[in-house]
């Protein structure tokens, strides 16, 4: 059996697509797991998107704890005789998969961007060394756990004619000694850099928070309207909310055009934007690392370059 789980419905639908393909090749069926309240509508949607069966581990837990969810998922896996487990690679999913691997004494690989069978063994690819290399990793024994980030695979088209069993069960579970005392929404500006076609990004080369308007103005004329930033501006100075942060621990983006102004080009930042179409760098230091990762660059003070560039593009685009 192939089992798919994420607490994020969107990712689950994407995993069901890859899971169907793997299940077919393995000659197995695919189960989608739901942890929480019995939600028949959601279960039917999973079936319409490729699940042969939906297993609902019913629980009244009101919040996610990896310790408890790993215990529930372990029960579902034993009950369904699952050997291949695909888990959505968001923050919850990664810590859940890793803990589950320890409990099941199973192999686990996180953040897989490709999965296939080679010599009948599940083989996966993941980005390592800050984007400098891709490791091809192969499971040597079962069960196998792989986590997959969002947007790696496209969901299957919905087919309402598909049918499948919906199983509901409550399991006894070991409670965690930890306790969630507060959940606070983080300050965000509702920016989705992952979906942007054009991004103008700013870094430590800016002297003051108010100067970011130079980037906003350029983004406006580019009709990109999306502004990104490197780590220091989001994490240390907090001039921008974390939804703008592009890099290894921030967001990974691939717009058609990426303009980096006043960004030195630390490997962690490059890892977040290296898949962009055209990369432009503006930096006053001709030795800045960012130029090595750019298609076009201007060596100059961003305070001079940005207004001129904004004007020139405005003229060009009419």
């Amino acid at each position: 059996m192939v089992l798919v789980y994420s607490d994020d419905k969107k990712i689950t639908l994407e995993l069901l697509s890859k899971g169907s393909e793997l299940a077919k090749k393995l000659g197995k069926k695919q189960t989608a797991a739901i942890i929480g309240k019995a939600d028949d509508a959601l279960a039917k949607e999973y079936i319409a998107h490729g699940a042969d069966k939906v297993f609902i581990a019913e629980t009244d837990l009101d919040s996610f704890k990896a310790e408890e969810y790993a215990g529930l998922l372990e029960n579902v896996i034993k009950e369904t005789g699952t050997e291949t487990i695909l888990i959505g690679s968001n923050k919850n999913g990664k810590e859940l998969a890793s803990r589950l691997a320890a409990k099941l004494d199973a192999g686990c690989v996180t953040d897989c961007i490709n999965l296939y069978l080679k010599d009948k063994k599940l083989t996966v690819e993941r980005v390592v060394y800050s984007g400098n290399a891709i490791a091809v990793e192969q499971f040597t024994e079962k069960p196998n756990i792989a986590t997959i980030p969002s947007k790696v695979f496209d969901p299957l088209l919905k087919d309402d004619k598909r049918t499948g069993d919906i199983v509901k069960k409550k399991f006894d579970m070991e409670k965690s000694a930890s306790k969630i005392v507060k959940v606070q929404e983080m300050k965000t500006e509702g920016v989705s850099v992952e979906d942007a076609e054009i991004i103008v990004s700013c870094g430590r080369g800016f002297k003051d928070k108010s100067d970011i308007k130079l980037v906003n103005e350029l983004a406006d004329v580019l009709k990109g309207k999306t502004v990104g930033c490197s780590r220091p501006l989001a994490a240390d100075l907090k001039w921008m909310s974390e939804d703008h942060w592009i890099g290894l621990s921030g967001h990974k983006v691939k717009p058609k055009l990426y303009i980096a102004a006043g960004i030195s080009g630390q490997i962690q930042h490059i890892a977040g934007m290296r898949d962009s179409g055209i990369i432009v760098a503006i930096n006053k230091d001709p030795e800045a690392l960012i130029f090595k990762s750019a298609d076009y660059g201007i060596v100059g003070d961003l305070y001079d370059v940005l207004p001129k560039l904004t004007d020139a593009i405005k003229t060009k685009m009419g």
Binding site: E95, G107, A133, I180, K256, Y296
Partner: protein
Amino acid sequence: MNIIVCAKQVVDVSEMKLDPSTKKPILQGVPQKISDIDKNAMEEAIKIKDKQGGKITVVTIGPADAKERIKELLAMGADEGVLVPPPDKHDYHVVSSLLAGAIKKIGEYDIILCGEASIDLFSGQIGPQLAGLLNIPQITYAQSVSAEKDKVVAERNMGDKAVTTESTYPVIITVTKEINEPRLPSLMQILGAANKPINDWSADSLTDKITPKVETVELKGVSMERKNIVYQNDLDESVNKLVESLAKEGVLR
């Protein structure tokens, strides 16, 4: 309070190069360092010890030359080190099993601190796997930690939410890079570290789970081939040339 820090020696990724003919990354001869976020875990351990007293033990699964890296952490403020060389073939499962074995051998522990992930492979697996093996609570992605006598409270950065979690001891906490600024040891501390003990423990004395479940069959280089056209003379001319180039690329629409 008994504090354990798990720290990994990694290659300095910014110094990595690709072999021009095979396009594969060259790992030999690249400078080694302690994974950045593990240093944040070390710094947090020192802060906890300053407040609650106790002892900090650093555990590293790594080759013999990682001893030099452990000395850096001893200079920062750790009291004792443990070095366990892994078998040649190892994976996340083997490393977390070795850490669990070493920590059980140390015996007494209240807080285990790790970086959220190592900066070379960035799997994020080791902390949660270790927590699973020891069957204790895990608090991941902590951006602040407050250790009290009977419990610890941590604020976790979950991207769109900040989740505050508390736990009794023992507990594993994985920290983010934003939690603190790791200190630089003084010359006196560096000299003093030479007298602190580093224990060499063998892998097979700690666990029998030393067979990997995942094998790296290939490492493919990702070359960053870009045009690298840089304009740097007259500013107006540079800007015009850039705009012309972008128009030709079809990205100005």
